[in-house]
Symmetry: D2
Subunit: 422 residues, 4 copies
């Protein structure tokens, strides 16, 4: 697809859109402004738009003759992280999360790139309606970071109320150089389990620890003890990550609080490892309460579970071929499994159709190259979820638009095999 | 002072006032409703009232002829604790603290008893004006729990703008049986230092710990390491307490946060122990950052420091004698130093005058007696700062009113020695 | 008792004896050389000597007419510590302890001073037989450090086979200035409980932690968790110490061992605190095994228990008076309870007779004074059990001989009240 | 190689030899009995034997005409582990290790299988001298577990004093089913670094922690802190293991010791990961001393370093083909990198010749199969270094003899390519 001219035409507008979205990030299920923007833009492109599919989700459908149905998905939500990029378009937004905590908000995971690139790819496809046949279902999903967004859209009839997809496509911006894409035919992203844990102590005056059971000490001991799950119970030939992403206890320095709350984020690839890690985590939580003489057993609530994100190998190879033609063969990388997780897999699982998910680079190649030479990529190239994560807007968007449109055309374009046989 | 009749007359009104204050607790320096109530009541008693002395403080003066000046102090603020008493007059209030966190609020330390008892004692004194000579300065102090309230009132001219006290008196409700008081001629309360500590890591995606420096793990390791200050560096013949009262890090389970914040509350009695503990705490904080390879040194901010609360021995003995006459000798206990702290000592220190501070019991004697017999006082009698702390209103208020008025009359009453020689 | 001349005569010989004992320290129940030396010396003084009372104990009796029976006790055993005093008479001995471990041995607790001073005091008493009436029972006790020595002597008939004492006297060298003594009429030394703990993991190759349960990590976590007993479960107004004195696991760096062994030493003064601490320690040990998924419950064996050492107040005051006459009133100090423990209390408890136990100074006064001025006594004056502990022999022995003989004469001397009424 | 008849003839004698070696294990560089046995048996086979090559090593050479030189290596040393197999031929030996500690000794790693299989393979080759041409160099290496054995033999002229090898072959018994072999063309075993760490505190009496710096607490905190190296600083896509294999502090429960000693065993595959882990370990060690206020910096001594064991891919494929012919194709497995380490790689590195190293199964297939079905291989099949590790002698030896002889004949046998071109 020679998209150069059309892309050049729409890129300035996309960059402006991107900066606007970046400046106004919204937390999971609060993406009303983002959703309204997406809905307006998609309607302007001639799509049939439905809002509030799964709280704040948006589904936009364009029917262009007989042919396969391609579902293109972008996620919309931002993170409760204080932006430290120092960019002119940096976010200064704050919001109240579901726990009632006020927090700064930032598009630290690049979902603003995804939303903009999906709108851009749809615009490209709209401009070239004569070059393809079939149906495009553009899905703007809320709450990916909460792990609940795909689930909410499915519960709200995503697969029943809208054309059934033959293939599902999604992408994620990464700290690799822009102009590159990375694919993995097979398991790409690990499974995630998030547990919310409440440890119950007994509150009291800070000067009288003997009359209290200190949940801060319980939480601290537990966090350290959780480190031994990966260091001692997971084989060096397997992979798992146990991260305590949030920990909070106490409201005043003078009192020992009555409880502590923490969230445990568990990544794994193999079911046996997942089971072993979950059991080991739970064992440590229970034992901590015993050691402390806690008045109540801890409360362990599974917040969400995400399956492994597994790309359909044959479909992935087709997209790889198309991307190699579009970006040049040296710009298409193959990658192994990543420890991150996604709820995109839930959509494919529910649809029982093949899916392909890939990474698009968003970083300045020179910055990346310098860090590679210095061996400091981990340290010097800001990664997703870091407060300094900052894709270079225009080339990152160009990469995303081209990658998504090209992939869609693998199924929609003229040389395509019949619908349903991806 | 035979207060029985007058006390019986005013107690129902005081109990209603108490329930109202208890239902509407206010955090430090937000005590506008409490202050307005106190000011209104004191004006009704004929006191000369000044508001907003030290943000939300109230000073009420009653001049009743030549004689000593007695400063009576009550603190007004509540705590960010969720009340769990289940009482009809339990608080359901929430408030935003100085960190911007929304929190439930509760009079878990009994300052509502103090405010009500001070108003009640002043009413008793007002009704008996002919029985004494001198000046009463009633001080309703804000922000005792923040450690900053006395300081703010002093900075705002408490000792310059109002009659200079010859003696300062204060009291605190405790979980002992109502109808009893406890005195300590000498050092009663320890010194407190509160530090706010920020640990800086490097944020990142929860699945990629190798690219981050995890401040949650740093905080956990620090909390455990801080336990060794008391267990290993303080002599068993000395006393200190190191409590981490608040710990908070992270806003989303999926990300490793960039920093963690905690508050360290240090109690001590001896200057050498205090110095050793502070040094040991700071050493551990710094070492934690080194161990973790943190990108920045931790930030350690002293939030406040309270001196030892030392009662003037001779004045204390005079109050003890008066209380023994009022409550009966078996109801007056002598107690040793307590590990809690107060900013009442700052007032006495600044005035360079003697002071006496005592405890009044607030618990039902039968409840207390049962727990003593069972050896479960620590566990079964709710202490100050516990979410279940619940003095029995009427007898607790009676104890407080009688104790305060009787003590004031030691200086103001007919048999009193000359002013300035307490 | 004007002992100056006689003392001067015997001191050079005592110093030679002391240096010899110091050079040849022996571990608990291995004190054969020390016992043989003591027996020989006591026989030479005319005492009736019995050896092997309680494994290696020695009892020497001198009857000198009708009068009270005074039991004087010295302990004989040394410690498995590598001496670092650099003195000419430093120990280079090694020995195999009861666990089969080869170890350096040192008189780091000063029992060599005790043995020598007891022999010296008996020599003084022998030289002055005409000045007193009664019976002296000199007890050279083995295994004080093991906590089992007094018990073994009692089991072997100490109180049945030898004259029943009217009073029991003992003393311990301390880092105070020589020429001084310190007394405490009442509880002097705390109770001690020593537990031996075995943690069971599952051994394996060091590169395959997932197939093992690592007892080294269990032990480490337990040691840290034990710090929270004192820091969180003991009131700042009470006292306790929890020390892990030994920890050992693993024999080769390449393997994860199957178990770890550690000893927990618990000091306390109050029965309620002791019970709470013991329960808290045991709870943590059990919880650690649960957290780790250990294949077997830990094994907790009480190694020994020592009661509180409580001085008989009236008898102590009599010794204080005598010591004040002997050393001058400024050289006699009163001290509060110490956290150390002794099995001397077992003897008094079994005899059901009063006992007095005191400290004698052994350090150069100038060294001590400098450290007091600098506030560095804890750091710069070597204490008992430190590898640099080094009393100054001659003046330390003089202090010990005078203190013991003078105290014995309180009961044996001419002005004494009748036997049995100490 | 149809070895069936010859093997059957020699197996009973080999089993007797194995049981004898198993009953008499010897620690690193103490393998005098094992070496003497090997030397005697090899001389009986007609080899030219040299003893004491690298302390206790043995080199046996058989020249059989012109042809390649094949070095076959077996390691001889046992481990300080108490055998818990309960077998009739279990070890009851004890020995004193290089630290002077007396310990039980066990062939827990199967080096007795290696020695016996090497002797058996040489006997087979000797019986079939007419079927091959070339030189066999049988190396019985000491001290593999200490990491120093290969180094000592090289320093003692292994490559200069004996025929230079064209290929180096070695094998290790594993818990897989006997009759099977496992190969890995490429990196098979990780690199190992072993550090000995001494933490310096300040000794003192167990009841006076405030006068000491407790190295037991330092060691415990360090062990827990070391768990965070793998859990937080190693990517889930990389591999490393940090094991504290030995930890020892203190000799008496009553004293706080002056120091603690531990060994840290670090496994890694990639140089960048190794460097990161070593730096992270050292940072934690240093920080621990800072946190504790230690009087001296810790002492970190690298005990030994082993390189990665990398199999020569082409040579490995040749051995795989030969083993497939010998054992059947389903008995030959391909395996990925293992986290264990070996000093066999040092020999190949020094010789600058290709090498092949493989695993032979030693467990009863039924036992293994049951555990596989139950998913309990890690738990129920005893692995190397476990006190219950117990290969089934006769079939394990048969597997080892056949695998080694067959592999040697790849180079020595009739169809072999010319020497030097493996």
């Amino acid at each position: 697809m020679s998209t150069d001219h059309d892309l050049g035409t729409i890129l300035p507008g996309l960059e402006a859109l991107y900066r606007d979205l970046h400046r106004h990030p919204e937390l999971a299920f609060q993406e009303t402004r983002t959703a309204a923007t997406a809905a307006r833009r998609m309607r302007a492109l001639g799509f049939d738009v439905t809002e509030k599919v799964g709280v704040t989700g948006v589904v936009a459908v364009l029917r262009n003759g007989a042919g396969p149905t391609v579902l293109l998905r972008a996620d919309m939500d931002a993170l409760p992280i204080r932006e430290e990029t120092g960019l002119p378009w940096a976010s200064r937004e704050r919001s109240t999360d579901e726990r009632g905590l006020d927090s700064p908000v930032m598009h630290a995971c690049g979902h603003d790139v995804h939303v903009t690139a999906l709108i851009g790819a749809c615009e490209l496809l709209t401009r070239r309606r004569d070059a393809w046949r079939g149906t495009v279902v553009a899905v703007f999903q809320p709450g990916e970071e909460s792990g609940l967004g795909a689930r909410r859209m499915l519960e709200d009839g995503l697969l029943e109320r809208f054309p059934e997809p033959d293939i599902l496509l999604g992408q994620h911006v990464s700290p690799a150089p822009h102009g590159t894409v990375a694919h993995c035919p097979g398991v790409l992203l690990g499974a995630t389990d998030v547990l919310t844990v409440r440890l119950f102590g007994r509150g009291g005056h800070g000067s009288r620890p003997e009359s209290a059971v200190d949940p801060v000490v319980m939480a601290a001991s537990l966090v350290l003890r959780l480190q031994t799950v990966v260091s001692r119970e997971v084989s060096p030939r397997e992979s798992a990550v146990v991260t305590v992403g949030t920990l909070s206890a106490g409201t005043t320095p003078g009192a020992i609080p009555a409880e502590a709350e923490l969230s445990v984020n568990i990544r794994s690839f193999a079911p046996a490892v997942r089971a072993k890690v979950l059991a080991a985590v739970e064992r440590r939580i229970q034992a901590e309460a015993v050691a402390a003489g806690a008045p109540r057993e801890p409360e362990i609530v599974p917040l969400y579970r995400l399956p492994v994100t597994a790309n359909h190998p044959a479909s992935t190879e087709r997209v790889i071929a198309a991307h190699a033609a579009e970006f040049g063969p040296r710009a298409v990388h193959r990658t192994g499994p990543q420890s991150a997780s996604e709820d995109f897999g839930l959509l494919a699982e529910a649809a029982a159709r093949p899916s392909v998910y890939w990474f698009i680079g968003g970083t300045a190649p020179a910055v990346f190259a310098r860090a590679v030479v210095a061996g400091t990529v981990e340290r010097d190239v800001p990664h997703n979820h870091a407060p300094t994560f900052a894709p270079v807007p225009r080339p990152a968007l160009a990469t995303g638009v081209r990658a998504l449109a090209t992939a869609a055309l693998v199924w929609l374009g003229p040389g395509t095999t019949e619908p349903g046989v991806p």
